[in-house]
Assembly symmetry: C2
Homo-oligomer: 380 residues x 2
């Protein structure tokens, strides 16, 4: 499907600076925060048609359209849901997507220059939490003159941001669309995260996170982390259909330790291409953001906070997702409802595992489109 958006540019904005530093939930401060973001569509006069996209671990601000010089057939990562006539309809809505705090695609993160030292932060970048990502999102919105969102929409870590935002800042979001996410990582989720982290930190080129000026990066570790991730993003079934036991570029096995099966070749490619666009420290920080995420830790506060707002929730899961299976979505729904929030929950049938949130399964997109339409209609 060709992009309906066309040519776009990533913009940049400093949202915290020396005079107004960012104070994190931990109390630590970051002196300067620049945000890379893209927007699609037009903000209406009363700024009531804004939809905010929160991206997942490896995402960025380039959600839709294509950049000058890029292949128009390889648009941003969520182009299939954003555009004229698409569920997030840019003929009607103003869609904003920033790179998150801690990121490596234009927004301040561990690879940014620490103004105190003139060198990249590395692991001196403070630990961050989902609520800190939200703080930066809100600062961007304030600068854009948008006091309230029609919707905050996100898959995986993106959904976690929409959830935390709805809880911490009542009255700012009409509808939170939380797709393939979790309110609390399981032991198995944390285990996969731990192995990915160890892969990066044990890479000798990691150099305690100070690899930016050494001419070497922990590419082996980061590629491994990405490979492990990809196994959890696909369903067993989709892997079977996609690769089976087929051998890459040959009829018979080569019997050796090199890449031989197609699934090995796929993972290898995913790992290698990832290191060209992603920073290992960002992977560590955002991985840890997910591990520690626990927005329902205090049920009394949860109820009080939600009662102050009027946010509705659309919680979606996919039946083949074993990273954040439907049980995560169901638990989230139960806890939100117990705290008094209106929640529409649906499990969507899709073969693509956790990655389903990136596909345009018709049930999924129809459900999102219908929900957004109802939010817009309620607003009048």
């Amino acid at each position: 499907m060709p992009s309906g958006i066309g040519l776009v540019e990533t913009q940049r904005m400093v949202v915290f600076d020396d005079d107004h530093p960012l104070t994190l939930a931990s109390g630590a401060q970051i002196k300067e925060v620049e945000v890379a973001y893209e927007t699609y569509g037009e903000l209406n006069e009363d700024a009531s048609n804004a939809i905010f996209i929160c991206h997942a671990l490896s995402g960025d601000a380039h959600a839709a359209g294509y950049h000058e010089g890029d292949d128009p057939n390889r648009p941003g990562w969520w182009d299939n849901i954003i555009g004229p006539g698409r569920p997030l309809d840019t003929d009607r809505f103003f869609v904003i997507c920033p790179n998150v705090l801690g990121g490596c695609r234009g927004t301040t993160g561990p690879s940014s220059i620490d103004p105190d030292t003139g060198k990249p932060y590395g692991l001196r970048f403070p630990l961050i939490q989902v609520r800190d990502l939200v703080t930066v999102h809100r600062a961007l919105l304030a600068n854009l003159g948008i006091p309230k969102l029609l919707a905050a929409v996100g898959g995986s870590l993106g959904g976690m941001q929409a959830l935390q935002w709805s809880i911490d800042h009542p009255g700012e979001i009409d509808g939170a669309v939380i797709v393939a996410a979790s309110a609390r990582l399981s032991a198995q989720n944390i285990a996969f995260s731990a192995v990915a982290r160890e892969a990066i930190m044990r890479d000798p080129d990691f150099n305690d996170g100070n690899y930016y000026e050494t001419g070497k990066q922990p590419d082996r570790g980061l590629a491994l982390a990405r490979m492990i991730g990809h196994i959890t993003y696909l369903s067993e079934e989709s892997m079977r259909e996609k690769f089976g036991r087929r051998i890459q570029d040959a009829e018979v096995p080569r019997f050796g330790f090199d890449v031989d099966f197609q699934v090995e070749s796929y993972l290898h490619y995913q790992g290698q291409s990832f290191v060209e666009r992603f920073d290992a420290n960002t992977y560590l920080y955002l991985g840890r953001v997910m591990d520690y995420f626990d927005p329902f830790g205090d049920p009394v506060r949860l109820r009080t906070q939600l009662a102050q707002g009027d946010t509705g929730f659309l919680v979606l899961s996919f039946d083949s997702d074993w990273r954040f299976s439907t049980s995560h979505a169901r638990d989230m729904t139960t806890e939100l409802r117990a705290a008094g929030a209106p929640v529409t929950f649906q499990e969507i049938s899709s073969p693509h595992g956790h990655d389903s949130f990136l596909f345009d399964t018709s049930d999924y997109h129809r459900t999102v489109a219908g929900y957004i339409d109802r939010l817009a209609a309620a607003k009048g």
Copy 2:
């Protein structure tokens, strides 16, 4: 449960040598093969009470009892099923367990000295297949004067050996007990295997497999491989019950990149302790043995081979095993039955995931004991 076997010793035997080298299925040869093995119980006069244990990827010859100087409460890896009155009853049966070809616990493998060079083989050790492991098992039996087995029993890679043996050498095994195994790894299985292999081979200390004389071993890579393995050995449910989101040695999270959650600490420990007893090259070779395993590739041969023997099969799976789930066991059962073999198949309920084959779940042990008893009774 204390060991019923008591003190045992590992024995060693050269089963192939310069005059009678081992010819592998690939045609390659290994000049000298020594096998480390243990036996429990007594061989009867007509050598008709022998039960052969095939171990899994990280196992060894020390299946039961304890070694001089060891803690008697930490017996061999399958002590709960082997011993007087246990399912593999050493009052009645002669139980043999060798370390496999390619291993690193006494049997010739990549860490052994290549007689041609006087140095450890490393990756010059030839690629091996399950049928080669069986060839060495059979040579050991021939040397022990045992022409036929009452049973060959194994979990995971062990079950694969029992299966291949039954197909390739009709008439040598009365009953093959195949537990938590697969006749054909899935794309997801191969994917996990690939990531583990890359973790080892990308470790700078791997040195193309020639690390034995460098004073450094690819410990980081091997530990990572083991950590990844352990995630697949436990069920999500057992991980949740065992660890949940609990923090190690503290009440509140420390918020950092060090080990913090209990599940991280567990994996870390498993990784570290593994490198002290296991060789990275062996991990690579035996991992690849599993990837390429495909004993049902030729259905005509399968039927012909099975028709020549009278081996019965007990195929067991565990409902919480997601590494080799029940569908693997069911496929194996279907294909064996289609080829005319008598198969008893049972899915056992057990919470321990793939590792269930090492636990003494009563349904499981009762089923094995009953099957072995029937084999012995049929023999008279």
